[in-house]
């Protein structure tokens, strides 16, 4: 293999598994260290810069970082990154004086459709640069689906309001209760650019199932029902509730139903439980609140007697997978199963809907009737119109919407400055030695062996009787510290300088996980078979040095490196050094000249 080019920022970026997996590339280990140091404001601001909604995401993020966390490969469970973010948000003091100063107006005006995370992120990035930002949303308050689809027992309204208002208070002109029913009307106005962050507002229904029409009064589409609960139009539900679907919305529906008076709430999914789309922790929470899950049941009929819904009939199926892993649900041939229900919530997915976008204003629509949007610039085929969040490529999650918002903001800024959109700003990176003295590091390199700490919950009796009581109490400062110490500091990189190495083997001998090897060079496939420990995880890179004096090379498998710094401590010539790698995605207007 050729020597690894560590000057390419993407190499070390990939080693920081959590940050790499995060769509917004939030510098996770950096803020975790700040939490351990009790510097909650600093930790919060690092998050705020990167993901805009630390308090919100610290509760309801889909946390792609956690399955990626190296700790999960070293022991059983990853660091509770998401809940640590909440510790920063819960314990910070007033940070208003740290918010960006608003530059004088630059004469450019933009419109944002929808007040969800994508649009708010665009506003966050562009309002401080002097843009006149106009925001349109059909509700009377900002937040989008973070408000109307996420129940307040998971995300308290105060937290939501605080973080939404940081942005609205930047001088954003918000037109609430203003449903945009024509994009043309905006395009025809003098906006320099328009951003569509209107989400994926259409909940899927089972319109063709027998009994759907007759039972309509007792059958609701999940997201619409959650919406009406959030705005307090719906305050109760029957005792027997069936929730159809296996995603996070289904979990929210069943837990909300429990709090509105549902006694016998059950989830019924077509697929095996293991294939359910909901995050494992959401499923866990639903189960722990006493919601049973019936898997492999396909809905067949709504049973309506005398104009009243009495239940549903299901066909039992089993999942079969072909050689490509493609699943088909095959009926088992058993009798249909009847389940009693007063009300049914359908939470089987959601779709985009753009009836309000005229098809003659230069915006091309492609597959699935979705607008054609550039994956990098988020520009549509009408150069003034940009898309982001669920509106761009279909339903995803908040953190993805934030990432889209940042990139769209860069594009809009470049577009308004007459610059090329494809010329994207490079990330801001730095690599800094952590050596403080002889065998001393600026970071806490001792490895903590604690298992993941559980987040305390409020008493179930209390939680289930009040829709507004947040179920999770969050870590307190002490628990937050304990959990923060589990972080392996993967951003503190092991940097190897081959011409300093005397090949004494000290690093290879001391490495707890035997990552470091001195061996003859070869092709990657061959090298992976010759290392001290199996190197089967091919998406984890091998760090290969230049040729050493004995004509061997140093090969380090990044996979389960603990970043403990022992290699560097035991190195007599400082050929190994522990260097902190910072990587931040450049935001609109922050590009180095």
């Amino acid at each position: 293999m050729k020597p690894t080019n560590i000057k390419d920022p993407e190499y070390f970026h990939k080693v920081v598994d959590c940050q790499y997996a995060c769509p917004a590339h939030t510098p996770v280990p950096e803020y975790i260290r700040l939490i351990a140091a009790g510097r909650y404001d600093d930790a919060y601001m690092i998050n705020w810069e990167s993901n805009v909604f630390p308090g919100i995401l610290g509760r309801v993020c889909d946390r792609p970082c956690e399955p990626a966390c190296r700790r999960g490969r070293v022991e059983e469970e990853p660091v509770a990154i998401c809940r640590l973010k909440r510790v920063a948000a819960d314990n910070k003091e007033d940070i208003k004086d740290r918010l960006p100063t608003i530059m004088p107006k630059n004469g450019k005006k933009i419109a944002l459709v929808g007040a969800g995370p994508a649009s708010l992120t665009v506003a966050r990035d562009l309002a401080p640069l002097g843009y006149e930002v106009e925001l349109f949303d059909e509700q009377d308050i900002g937040g989008g689906f973070m408000r109307n689809q996420i129940p307040s027992f998971r995300l308290p309204i105060e937290v939501l309001n605080e973080e939404v208002n940081y942005i609205l208070d930047m001088g954003v002109a918000a037109h609430f209760k203003h449903y945009v029913d024509s994009l043309k009307s905006l395009v025809d106005k003098d906006y320099d650019a328009i951003f569509v962050g209107s989400g994926a507002p259409n909940g899927r229904d089972l319109t063709k199932l027998p009994g759907r029409q007759e039972g309509d009064d007792s059958i609701h589409v999940g997201i619409n029902w959650l919406d009406s609960v959030a705005f307090e139009h719906t305050k109760s539900i029957g005792e027997n509730v069936i929730v159809l679907g296996g995603g996070n919305t289904a979990m929210d529906c069943c837990r909300t139903a429990l709090r509105l008076g549902g006694k016998n709430v059950k989830i019924v999914v077509r697929s095996p439980q293991a294939d359910m789309k909901a995050s494992p922790w959401e499923i866990e929470d639903a189960i722990s609140e006493g919601v049973p899950i019936f898997e492999n049941h396909t809905p067949k009929e709504f049973v309506v007697e005398n104009g009243k819904l009495t239940g549903m009939k299901f066909e039992k199926v089993r999942a079969e997978y072909d050689e490509n892993g493609k699943r088909s649900l095959v009926p088992t041939g058993e009798d249909l199963v009847f389940m009693e229900a007063d009300q049914v919530l359908i939470a089987i997915g959601q779709d985009n809907a753009f009836p309000w976008i005229e098809r003659d204003i230069g915006i091309e629509f492609g597959k699935w009737d979705m607008p054609v949007v550039d994956q990098v610039t988020f520009q549509s085929t009408n150069e003034r119109v940009f898309f982001g969040g669920d509106a761009a490529f279909g339903p995803s999650n908040i953190i993805t919407a934030v990432a889209h918002g940042h990139q769209a903001a860069i594009s809009i800024h470049k577009f308004c400055q007459g610059e090329s959109l494809t010329d994207r700003p490079a990330p801001q990176v730095n690599l800094l030695s952590q050596k403080m003295g002889f065998h001393e590091w600026t970071y806490d390199n001792e490895i903590d062996h604690d298992k993941r700490h559980l987040v305390p919950h409020v008493d179930k009796e209390i939680a289930l009787n009040n829709l507004k009581v947040e179920v999770e109490k969050g870590y307190d400062q002490d628990l937050g510290y304990e959990e923060a110490m589990r972080c392996l500091n993967c951003d503190v990189q092991t940097v190897f300088t081959d011409n300093l190495c005397i090949e004494c083997d000290a690093c290879a001998d001391v490495c707890p996980t035997n990552c470091i090897n001195f061996t003859d060079n070869g092709e990657e496939e061959d090298l992976r078979t010759r290392l001290l420990e199996p190197a089967n995880l091919t998406d984890q890179d091998l760090y290969v040095s230049g040729e050493l004096k004995t004509s061997r090379v140093m090969v380090k498998d990044e996979n389960v490196c603990l970043h403990c710094g022992l290699c560097a401590e035991r190195c007599p010539t400082a050929a190994w050094d522990m260097q902190k790698f910072s990587y931040s995605v450049t935001k609109a207007g922050k590009e180095c000249a």
Binding site: R73, V74, E75, F438, H439, E440, N445, E446, I447, H449, I502, E503, C504, D505, A506, A508, D509, V510, P512, T513, N514, C515, E533, P534, N536, K549, T550, V560, L562, C564, G565, L566, E569, R570, C571, P572, T573
Partner: protein
């Protein structure tokens, strides 16, 4: 400075026949200087014991005083250990071995502990052929007292202080061969491919086995002008050949028949396959090995590898015909057979 090593290990670490991973053979985090050759030797011992699937509680680590003799703290923390007086590890080991012949004895010593203060004890240990592995971590300086030349420093070799050594060095391998040791090897801490099989062979050998292992002192003796630096040893070492050890339980497979020179069966049925060029040194012959060592020395080379092997050697227990059972398995009746037997025995001597 870190004083603890994480307990986390690679999740896919290999297990040996006993179900142990290497972690079960490790010790505390080393407090020696960073880059010390001794740490590599410790690691090679860990590897050898792991690969041979030795039960850690059936190994005893014996040592004297010095940097080298500290190392038993850094490997095999589940084994027995005795850190004795300077240069007196041989007599303590002799006693231990006489009391319990069932343990594997790994003696760790340095060039000071062996070739200076312990020389008298060392010579008698070899002659008596105590069944043990004796590893000398040989760096040519007294590291613990800040780098004075030791008795194994070559003439003309200069440590960090810069003054060339004026006295003739002791060659521990030549001494051991001439005193009848049946397993004598020289190796280098920076060559685990060679060292690990040598340690495994030494453990399997019946009788005294010496490994004189050059182990650079990064702090006092890894400079230009030293003949015990990483660079000098790498540039000047020459191997007698390679070998692989096939433990008794395993099927004998020859890795490279072209290179196979000879197979030697050890007392427990294990086999050492020697690989080297035809016509090269016959390590079974003491005389030719001694002259080869001298020739290498003349030409400024360090001859490494297995230098001498005599698989017929008899250990002390066999020479003096002691009991086959360790003392700790004998009860009072065995140890004190009674007045009648004593009287009869005395009578037989009158």
């Amino acid at each position: 400075m870190s004083y603890l090593k994480s307990r986390f290990r690679h999740p896919e670490s290999a297990k040996n026949d006993l179900g142990y991973t290497k972690a079960n053979y490790e010790g505390a985090l080393s407090t020696l200087c960073a880059g010390c050759g001794h740490d590599s030797i410790s690691n090679s011992i860990i590897n050898a014991c792991f690969e041979l699937s030795l039960e850690p509680h059936k190994i005893a680590k014996m040592s004297g005083i010095g940097c080298s003799s500290k190392t038993p703290a850094y490997f095999l923390s589940n084994s027995h250990g005795f850190n004795s007086v300077h240069g007196r590890m041989p007599s303590v080991t002799t006693g231990a071995n006489m009391a319990n012949r069932d343990l594997v004895y790994v003696g760790i010593s340095g060039d000071g502990d062996t070739a200076s203060i312990g020389m008298g004890q060392f010579m008698h240990l070899v002659r008596r052929n105590i069944n043990m592995v004796y590893i000398v971590m040989n760096n040519g300086v007294y590291g613990l007292t800040k780098g004075q030349d030791s008795a194994t420093a070559d003439v003309g070799s200069a440590s960090k202080k810069g003054v060339p050594n004026m006295y003739e060095p002791m060659d521990l391998c030549e001494l051991a061969i001439s005193l009848g040791s049946g397993y004598v090897a020289r190796s280098f801490s920076g060559d685990k491919d060679q060292l690990v099989p040598l340690i495994k062979g030494a453990i399997k050998h019946n009788g005294f086995a010496l490994i004189d292992c050059i182990s650079p002192c990064v702090t006092f003796n890894n400079n230009n002008g030293s003949t015990k630096s990483y660079e000098w040893v790498r540039d000047h070492k020459e191997a007698t050949g390679t070998f692989d050890l096939v433990p008794h339980e395993q099927e004998i497979k020859v890795q490279d028949p072209e290179q196979l020179h000879e197979s030697v069966k050890l007392h427990d049925g294990s086999v050492i396959n020697l690989h080297r060029q035809p016509g090269s040194l016959d390590i079974k012959c003491r005389e030719s090995v001694l002259s080869a060592l001298e020739e290498a020395k003349q030409s400024g080379q360090v001859l490494t590898g297995l230098l001498h092997l005599n698989s017929d050697s008899q250990n002390t227990h066999e020479i003096i015909n002691t009991s086959k059972r360790p003392l700790n398995t004998m009860d009072e009746a065995d140890l004190c057979p009674g007045n009648d037997l004593l009287q009869a025995f005395n009578q037989s001597l009158r």
